[in-house]
Assembly symmetry: C2
Homo-oligomer: 205 residues x 2
Amino acid sequence: MTQRKSKADRRLDLIDAAHRAMLQHGAEGVHLNQIAEEAGLTSGAVLYHYPDLRELLIEAQHAGMERFYERRMKKISGISDPADKLVVTIRSGLPDGPDDAGVRLLCELGGAAGRNRVYATLLTTLFDRQVSMYQTILETGAAHGVFTLAQDSETIARNLVALEDAYGYRIIARHHSIDPDKAVELILDYARLATGNPLRPADRR
Amino acid sequence: MTQRKSKADRRLDLIDAAHRAMLQHGAEGVHLNQIAEEAGLTSGAVLYHYPDLRELLIEAQHAGMERFYERRMKKISGISDPADKLVVTIRSGLPDGPDDAGVRLLCELGGAAGRNRVYATLLTTLFDRQVSMYQTILETGAAHGVFTLAQDSETIARNLVALEDAYGYRIIARHHSIDPDKAVELILDYARLATGNPLRPADRR
DNA sequence: CTCGTATTTGAATCTCGCTTCAACTAGCTT
DNA sequence: AAGCTAGTTGAAGCGAGATTCAAATACGAG
């Protein structure tokens, strides 16, 4: 028998297992047994902890989203120069490559959101949080005189997040000429117009 | 018995039925019986025409994509002024609302593309075609002196398509403050910076 | 009008995943 | 070390959907 665990620990394992299973089989196409297998358990054990599988899936999506957001915040937390900060933020919103797990999962959700209100809400909330994040950077830069905003900060922030999202999809779909570096360049091209700052792409981060 | 049809006619019916069924149940979650019902046939008849269901689904996606693109081209075909043309093109790339069938289906595909090469290729191709479409408009406008491009046309075109895509997802997910009109405004805000043209939003089209 | 064939049906069968639950056991408590 | 409890298993039963196929039938050709 697999090693026994406390309820709380096992639930964390299961959220992780569900995360992995969804990546392989789709957010909606994933099966109970696939999750059980990822967790090294039987289907019965999974049901013991999550009688309603949908609940587990939602928690897994939520956790993935949270992790994605936290990782970004952490990456940019140490940077004080607004221009550097903006560049790094843009990079951190893009997948590392076509197999980036975090972003893959977010993309999965995009389609499902049209049919599933919970997923729609999750994505919408994430979008808005990212917009706020960018807005703060933009406003700070403007206050320091580093940025001269060509539009109001909400507009720029929304467009930046939108560009990030869209190029994320392109990268996941393996577009032949749009890789993470290229995507950063494209988004920076907009950011330069909007902030009036030459924004040098940070060398690797 | 349902009226009989030639092989070719029936296949067209089935593609249409599959299209409708996918909208209701998801591109990947759709079932054979649901397609059969949409077509007014039994599952056996569907399999007679498409022994491999995946093939039907791919053809249906392909057809949906083609229809989406053709509709756009038709809407903008009569317009000669580049500025008007650009505005109408932007609008035509967005869903009418959260229930817009064509765009819903495209969004479905986004997530699946990470796991399915065929879908990835379809989406990538569509993206590139849309980029070309915008590039032509931009270049024409520049040649007429109506636009003063702040960046090369490919960069602008890619960013425009990306913005369209991303706001399409937001609209489908029922973002509370981003509806089609708002999305047009946001995209136009970028387009103005990039083209140096004041681009009035066309009143309803 | 009749034959021949392509299309469609409907029922039988198969498959697979979900659900349930009694039995088992690891690890804590006292 | 004996008992208790919570976590886990494995097997049985169920149901939904896919698949198969012989029989039925619509339609065109001759």
